[in-house]
């Protein structure tokens, strides 16, 4: 259904969500006062190479369809930047929180 390349609107994803066999890296961006909306979240592979970018929802949620491996998620926001790593060894939901300061 998606024939474009633009990032779809980001929504929260339940911890027990069925990912349809895909490797999903998802989570939330947080700031000093809780969830931080609108950050640009970049997915970097194990070599630090850029793989994808989405803009977090107003509630700070983001989601990537990745491949198995170790990933870094890096958030850019006008209030600051932050990053976290996540190990996604196989299909399913791999959750991660990024603190921006």
């Amino acid at each position: 259904m998606t024939d474009g390349c633009g990032a779809p609107a980001q929504t929260a994803i339940a911890a027990d969500a069925d990912t349809g066999g895909q490797v999903v890296v998802a989570g939330k961006v947080t700031g000093g006062e809780g969830p931080l909306g609108g950050a640009y979240v970049r997915l970097l592979n194990a070599d630090g190479e850029f793989t994808g970018e989405v803009q977090a929802s107003p509630d700070g949620d983001f989601r990537f369809y990745a491949a198995p491996g170790t990933w870094t998620v890096r958030a850019l926001h006008r209030s600051g930047n932050g990053q976290a790593s996540v190990s996604a060894e196989g299909p399913g939901l791999h959750q991660v929180t990024i603190a921006v300061a």
Binding site: M1, T2, D3, G4, C5, G6, A7, P8, A9, Q22, G38, Y40, R42, L43, N45, E49, F50, T51, G52, E53, V54, Q55, R63, F64, Y65, A66, A67, L76, H77, R78
Partner: protein
């Protein structure tokens, strides 16, 4: 051509929001970003619903482009300043598209919507009202657009530059990592293509790297600048970004964008495909 001829800074944009003869336009595939807040005075262009033919896989024709720009209030003499999300992918596509139809007075905001937001600059939900114009376009300048037969003929002959991510190039993924994995019939890349992901042409804040950095990047990747170059990705917008870097920033003369890209090539019967990293 210098960087200032094709790019403006976010500061320049803010300083020129009310300059007569300058029209700002936000271009996106999903225009909800515009609807939620955009640069004051900017009109919106919907990449999918306004720039693509609704039935055939092709662009709107010359008359359609004229009607579109007339309705948006863009005149032939206006300087059009384009920006958008996704590190300006769709804005770069629109830039290429404007050039295709002969509109030369067009520039991108360096860094696009992301840089504007990271700068903490103001956005508004108020939609501008612009007078209808009688815009006239030129016939498509096909010196910047490649079609499939030319791409197949370019294997081992011209530079083919695949600007998708390494995992899409190798055939591990069929689409960028922020999208569900669905696309062409087959995964992989066009034989003899080099893989320089579009993202290597951009800084983290979405601005383009300098012409010197770009020249070094493509030189190291093995691009022979004495040959014509065809850039492709999945649907032609990321490759517009690289087309912009190669032609408008480095200044290479013969650079085409293959807008059919992998969704066309990877579904063609009988054409050669390579898989694996290079």
């Amino acid at each position: 051509m210098s960087r200032e001829d094709v790019l403006v800074t976010t500061q320049w944009a803010e300083d020129n929001l009310d300059t007569p003869g300058v029209v700002f336009a936000e271009v996106d595939e999903d225009t909800t970003a515009y609807d939620g807040g955009h640069i004051r005075g900017a009109v919106k262009i919907d990449w999918k619903n306004e720039l693509q033919d609704p039935v055939r896989r092709d662009f709107v024709d010359k008359a359609g482009f004229e009607a579109l720009l007339s309705a948006k209030g863009v005149g032939n003499d206006d300087l059009v300043i384009l920006y958008g999300g996704n590190n300006n992918w769709f804005a770069a596509y629109a830039y290429w598209y404007f050039k295709l139809y002969g509109h030369d007075k067009v520039k991108l905001i360096d860094g696009g919507r992301k840089k504007w937001e990271l700068d903490g600059r103001e956005l508004t939900t108020e939609e501008p009202k612009r007078e209808h114009t009688g815009y006239t376009a030129k016939e498509q300048d096909l010196s910047v657009r490649a079609f499939r037969d030319e791409v197949v003929a370019a294997i081992d002959t011209k530079n083919l530059i695949d600007v998708r991510s390494p995992d899409e190039f190798s055939g591990k993924l069929l689409a960028p990592a922020h999208l569900p994995q669905e696309s062409a019939q087959r995964a992989g890349h066009i034989p003899s293509a080099v893989n320089v992901p579009w993202s290597k042409a951009a800084n983290e804040d979405g601005t383009f790297k300098s012409a010197d950095e770009l020249a070094e990047l493509y030189n190291e990747a093995g691009l022979d600048t004495s040959k014509p170059t065809i850039a492709y990705c999945r649907i032609g917008e990321r490759s517009s970004h690289t087309w912009f870097a190669l032609r408008e920033l480095i200044g290479l003369e013969d650079v085409k964008n293959y807008d059919g890209s992998w969704t066309e090539y990877g579904s063609l019967v009988g054409v050669p495909i390579e898989t694996g990293a290079k």
